[in-house]
């Protein structure tokens, strides 16, 4: 049983891998799912509840739309709270992005100008969310593709301020940093060195791909983790110590054992960093 063991390196859980994932006993292993796929009844929820009896779970939302200029959808929050009560996750997280607008859901993590207005709205939305869920959530840094105008704060300042105003923690996605640094032309190491270590409750790793023109990197989660991302990860963990680390894989899904082998690389990095908090 891994349900109460310290969190080491985890894997994004896919229905195709349910049987081997349920049976796996690797030390420190945990799983993460998008709650929107399980905020229903029926067989899918029953599968997740079986998994939750044996393994630690994290709920990583994609649809709370915290950066929309609107309060979070009460119905969505209620459903999320019900799921939290059903599977008792060790972590709950969301993205610094928006996806629902005027009652329509646009399945992506959309960008916004980091204005003072956005900071106030998102802080308020995080507080409302945490009130509704009865717990803190972690906020993930997004992938960037566009040169957006109208920023009043840089991303580190913005995230730092969200932590200060709401008591939320941060989910640091290193692949997002690598992809964004390439696309927008900043230095990923400098970004990571400034990232507020004390607030990081989870780290994400994933693969990326090139767009058709080859100019942009896309946060596609459909390949193995690239070496530059591993290098940034090792550098980060050497600076901040071990943190629960999750490997995301959504496309070109390999066999479960192949993901476990990739996960072992992250676990080794964590083991060498010393005891997990």
């Amino acid at each position: 049983m891994n349900r109460t063991a310290p969190l080491g390196a985890g894997l994004g859980l896919k229905p195709e891998h349910f049987a081997p994932a349920l049976a796996c006993n690797a030390d420190g292993l945990w799983y993460e799912v998008h709650p929107e796929n399980y905020m229903v009844g029926g067989p899918r929820l029953a599968w997740l509840q079986r998994m939750a009896e044996r393994h630690a779970l994290s709920l990583h939302g994609v649809a709370l739309s915290l950066a929309a200029d609107a309060e979070p959808d009460i119905t969505h929050l209620r459903r999320l709270r019900v799921l939290i009560d059903q599977v008792n996750p060790v972590l709950v997280s969301e993205h610094l992005a928006w996806s629902t607008w005027r009652d329509q859901y646009h399945p992506d993590l959309l960008p916004f100008p980091r204005s003072h207005e956005a900071l106030a709205r998102i802080s308020d939305n995080i507080l409302r969310t945490q009130d509704a869920l009865g717990r803190c959530i972690a906020i993930e840094n997004p992938s960037h593709y566009l040169q957006l105008q109208g920023h009043d704060l840089d991303e580190i300042e913005f995230l730092d301020e969200l932590v200060r105003r709401t008591g939320c923690t941060l989910l640091l996605d290193i692949n997002n940093v690598h992809v964004s640094a390439h696309n927008l032309g900043f230095n990923a190491k400098d970004y990571l060195d400034r990232f507020p270590a004390h607030a990081i409750s989870e780290v994400h790793l994933a693969g990326h791909s090139h767009d058709d023109q080859g100019a942009l990197l896309i946060d596609s989660h459909d390949t193995a983790i690239a070496e530059p991302v591993w290098a940034l990860y090792r550098r980060l963990i050497a600076r901040i110590g071990a943190r629960p680390t999750l490997i995301e894989r959504d496309g070109n899904l390999p066999a479960f054992d192949e993901l476990l082998a990739e996960r072992a690389i992250a676990q080794t990095t964590l083991d060498h960093a010393g005891a997990l908090p």
Binding site: E36, N37, M39, V40, G41, G42, P43, R44, L45, A46, V62, A63, A68, D69, A70, H76, W98, S99, T100, W101, R102, D103, Q104, Y105, H106, P107, D108, L110, P111, F112, P113, S115, E117, A118, R121, Y145, L146, Q147, L148, Q149, G150, N183, D211, Q213, A215, L216, I218
Partner: protein
């Protein structure tokens, strides 16, 4: 120009769906804007392909991709739970019959949609045979049998829709001996998955009447009017076995 957040988001959505968005020209002329357009559209299309696999089997991946994109362009999801996306896709296919030429495609889509609804329905208590023990015929006649949320049924007058759907969904060849007759279907879910079985016209009428709030006595009369040769005892046994009903309620 710095836009207020809400105004930025209105314009961004317009631009995503290829409507004029003059306030965001500095964004939409960047090639990177296509990443968001492509990702949103791919998310919608992938959800429809996942929710309507039998339709895709009948029309092929390329046609399905185009139809799903056309539908998504005008009907984005209204729920982040994407297994609930596509409630009106069958009607969309019915309206576009000229482009696919398959008069039964919309009914196959309706069965795919019933599967999604049943698969994702909230678990509810179930009427057990033991609950009926000791009831008088009069009590039973006055009682209301209400279908559970994880049950769907439909009668299809024009096509063997269940057989078409089952062959498409399970990748089975169409049997030459299969008669082209009307069919009804009953779909129900348990913790292990979705089950389906044929349901006669009288059975569909009976469940329609139960869902509309008729008493058992009234619903059974309507079912027998619809199908005079209906074996009602046999029907009730099959429905009980499929765990179709909520526990009893009375007037």
């Amino acid at each position: 120009m710095n836009l207020p957040l809400g105004q930025f988001q209105d314009a961004f959505i317009d631009a995503l769906y290829l409507r004029p968005a003059p306030l965001l020209q500095n964004l939409t002329r960047q090639p990177a804007f296509a990443v968001y357009r492509n990702t949103v559209m791919a998310g919608c299309v992938d959800a429809l392909r996942a929710n309507f696999p039998s339709v895709e089997t009948l029309v092929g991946a390329d046609w399905m991709q185009q139809a799903a994109a056309a539908y998504a362009q005008h009907t984005p999801p209204d729920d982040a739970r994407l297994i609930r996306y596509g409630a009106t896709f069958a009607a969309f296919l019915q309206d576009s019959q000229a482009s696919h030429g398959l008069p039964y495609l919309a009914d196959v889509a309706r069965l795919d949609w019933h599967w999604c609804e049943v698969f994702s329905a909230i678990e509810q208590p179930c009427l057990a045979l033991a609950d009926l023990a000791g009831m008088t015929a009069s009590d039973l006649g006055r009682s209301h049998l209400r279908p559970r949320q994880n049950v769907r049924w439909q009668w299809f007058d024009a096509h063997p829709a269940l057989s078409l759907w089952r062959c498409s969904r399970e990748g089975l060849p169409w049997p030459q001996s299969q008669p082209w007759v009307a069919e009804g279907a009953l779909l129900s879910a348990d913790q292990h998955g979705v089950n389906h079985q044929p349901l006669e016209a009288g059975g569909c009428m009976f469940l329609d009447a139960c869902a509309a709030g008729h008493s058992l006595e009234s619903a059974s009369q309507l079912a027998l009017q619809r199908q005079p040769d209906l074996d009602f005892t046999n029907l009730l046994g099959r429905l009980m076995q499929a765990r179709v009903f909520l526990p009893l309620s009375f007037d």
